[in-house]
Amino acid sequence: MIASAVRSLGVVRAGEVFCVNAQCQDFKQRVIHDGSTLCRLRTDKGVFFFLSEQFEYGLPEQELRKGGQLTIGAHRLRDGSAWLHWFQLANGESWEPERQDLRWPLLGVGLILALSIVIFMMPSDKPMLIMVQTFLGIIGTVILPFTLVALVLWLHPIKWKLRRELVALKAGKPIVLSEGPSCSEADTLPLDDGVYGGVGLIQGVASEIGLFRIDENIRRYQLRCAGETFTLAESSGMLGSKSFVFRRQAPLFIGESDRIVLLTMVDDGEVHGVLNLTDGIAHANYHGSPYSPQTRRVAFGVVVGIVTFMALCLGGFTLYDWHSRGVGPDYWDWVELAEISGFFMMMFMMMFSGIGLIIWYIQRHSSRKISLHGIPVEKVVALALQWRLHNGRSPVINEFS
């Protein structure tokens, strides 16, 4: 009931897997900063993104452009668009992600197991043996994260669910198809180009899109709109062609001839908002603002990550201690564990509070310098939100920086 109520608001669950029969409306691609080719496929059942490197073979661009009928397997992104995993043409020809090579993760697992057995079985009564144990432990520690990432990628449920659907589809078995929301193009803003309360607004058709290199490492999106040239930051958080299962945010994509609205701030002259009328997706740049959803998510992730890591370490050491003494825990063991946990929680609380205060102080001063007229980025965000809601989209703004 709650889920249906949420859906009625246009809010979707990011990461949700679905298959859909759709008709292509538009297909565009562009090279992004890491050399990959980001593709956007607009269909009558929504907008899909993918990397051409996901697939082993070249894309059937003609079919994708000329309104071909496709069956698509994808997972939802936050704003209602989706990341495409595979598609099948009406003639039964299908494009699916390259199968992951399992040799390396399995080799990693085997190596870690072997090293663990050797380390625990090896006597540690001589300095040389302790050094060997330490060396082997370091090797295992280095291998572990790579192996874990490879395993998680291989075992990710999104991947397996969609693969099952594709196998069923190929075998001619019926699969559950989603209807999906119909997505028409968005309306233009009923405003003329100009400055509104410190926010500049330019509407037009994007052209001459490319990457503008500032230096070796920094590249910016460059485009022309309404007769002017603009550059804006490349969308952050791009993931490699193999790890797209983790993606939940739609990438910043402006295709040639897309109708767009650029929102700038008078204070810094930067483009802070991009409303793409062609695909209905809004992007905002929070630069100069004390907080942004992305930094909040990153900060929250760091906090959760550190706390989880320490909890795992503490749990591991405690279990090892209990195991090595050969007696199970009693009341005092639990009390001690609670005390140590409390100590760590308190230390973390102090640490994060201190860091929070420092960041607050820095941001308070830096944001004042940027927002000389006190015009917050939230104005741009509010405009973008209103536009999304007005066009029947969910109130989700993608962030780029």
């Binding site: 004390p290 907080y291 909040r296 003494r325 007696v327 009693d330 005092w332 063991d333 009390v335 001690e336 100590f343 308190m346 230390m347 609380m349 102090m350 994060f352 509070s353 201190g354 929070g356 205060l357 607050w360 102080y361």
Partner: protein, 419 residues
């Protein structure tokens, strides 16, 4: 999310609370401070060097008796002990009256003449007997030096009726000399000399009228005539060597039993395993006649058999399998848990009729705990970081008596630290 303006205040509040909790809980910020009383000065200079590690105290019915050894030379004491040149007042009615004139206890004994003095460990014993010891008395507010002797005080004990015994190894006297007082250590007379063969330190377990139970590291002694004659009721070392208990005895002379008696009259003799590997304790239990009523071995360590309020017996037990510390009261062979602290160590238990005091915690959280109600409730008090030899638990004054440094006239300062 929270309003933006509240965030810095929330951060600051969390930081303040964290700092407070760190000091309050982890560093035991709630431990109360000791009440330090003004420093006073002994009216008598002690002959240097004073051996403060020999400082000991016992409660009387109106205060405490203290003794301390010194390596200094005192002509009057030496003359009295060797040539009999003692003041006549010393021998009035066969007793000494302690006081500011500092009588020499050696005047009460008859020095052995001819031959070498017999000792179980002759060289060490003879060195001890060449020293000087001071007897002091305190009423809980002041300390006075009230007597001297050439030799070492082996032990002291008093009961609530004011009967006190003082055991000493004196120069030119075989074995132990026993002095007795009926007025809490004001007047002393000789009860016996050349008794308790081979005893070096004597623990007075109980004084009941003319009956007295005492023990050294291996034997339990009993006298029923006010200390004049002594019987060895039990020898724990012999019992141990004859018993099937598995304690590792590398060297009999290194096995030191700790003795004490509970309020029911049960006597306990406890020794810790001297060997490597897991610790264990062996405990013998005797009745007042010296008959073994129980013997057993138990893993772990038992520390500090201490008499507390109403003669009840307390000990800290450290369990071996899981490291756990528990304060027990031992009564009629039963172990009654009083306070458990888990893995946080409890050590250095001190007891008197008014107070139980022990160290607790570790690291920055180290502190002391005291109880005025026989262990029912405990309060935390700041640790005394340098528990030096110059401090002694005052069994009557419910605090710690701390000797300070001598002034320009060699008069030592002292003060009380009270919870």
């Amino acid at each position: 999310m929270l309003p933006e303006w509240i965030r810095p205040w929330l951060y600051a509040a969390s930081l303040c609370y964290g700092a407070f909790a760190f000091v309050w809980y982890l560093m035991v910020g709630y431990a109360q401070a000791w009440h330090v009383e003004p420093e006073q000065t002994l009216s008598v200079p002690l002959k240097e060097p004073v051996e403060w590690n020999t400082l000991q105290a016992t409660a009387t019915n109106d205060g405490s008796l203290l003794s301390v050894g010194a390596r200094g030379r005192d002509g009057e004491v030496e003359m009295c002990s060797s040539a009999g040149g003692c003041r006549t007042s010393c021998l009035a009615q066969g007793e000494v009256e302690t006081g500011s004139h500092l009588p020499v206890f050696n005047c009460l004994v008859v020095p052995e003449t001819g031959g070498q003095v017999r000792h179980s460990v002759a060289p060490l014993g003879e060195i001890g007997r060449q020293g000087l010891s001071y007897l002091m008395r305190t009423n809980g507010n002041q300390v006075e030096v009230v007597g001297r002797l050439k030799g070492e005080v082996s032990g002291m004990g008093c009961n609530k009726q004011g009967r006190c015994y003082l055991f000493a190894e004196l120069a030119k006297v075989y074995n132990q000399s026993v002095f007795v007082s009926d007025d809490s250590g004001v007047h002393w007379r000789l009860a016996a000399q050349d008794v308790l063969d081979s005893a070096s330190t004597v623990e007075v377990l109980r004084i009941d009228g003319e009956r007295i139970w005492a023990a050294d590291s291996g034997s339990l002694y009993f006298s029923e005539d006010g200390g004049s004659h002594w019987n060895e009721l039990a020898n724990a070392r012999s019992l141990l060597s004859e018993s099937p208990l598995r304690i590792l005895l590398h060297n009999d002379s290194l096995v030191f039993f700790h003795w004490n008696m509970d309020e029911t009259g049960r006597i306990y003799a406890m020794v810790s395993d001297q060997g490597r590997g897991p610790h264990s304790i062996v405990m013998f239990q005797f009745d007042q006649t010296g008959k073994v009523v129980d013997a057993g071995e138990r893993p772990g360590e038992l520390r500090d058999l201490v008499s507390g309020p109403d003669g009840k017996l307390y000990a800290i037990y450290r369990a071996e399998e899981r490291e756990r510390y528990t304060l027990y009261r031992l009564s009629a062979g039963k172990w009654l848990p009083i306070k458990a602290s888990g893995r946080s160590p409890l050590t250095n238990l001190q007891g008197s009729d008014k107070l139980l005091l022990m160290e607790a915690g570790r690291g920055d959280g180290q502190h002391m705990l005291f109880s005025r109600d026989a262990g029912e409730t405990w309060k935390a008090i700041e640790d005394l970081p340098y528990y030096e030899d110059k401090r002694v638990f005052d069994p009557a004054g419910a605090g710690i008596l701390e000797f300070r440094y001598p002034n320009s006239e060699d008069h030592y300062g002292y003060r009380w630290l009270r919870p």
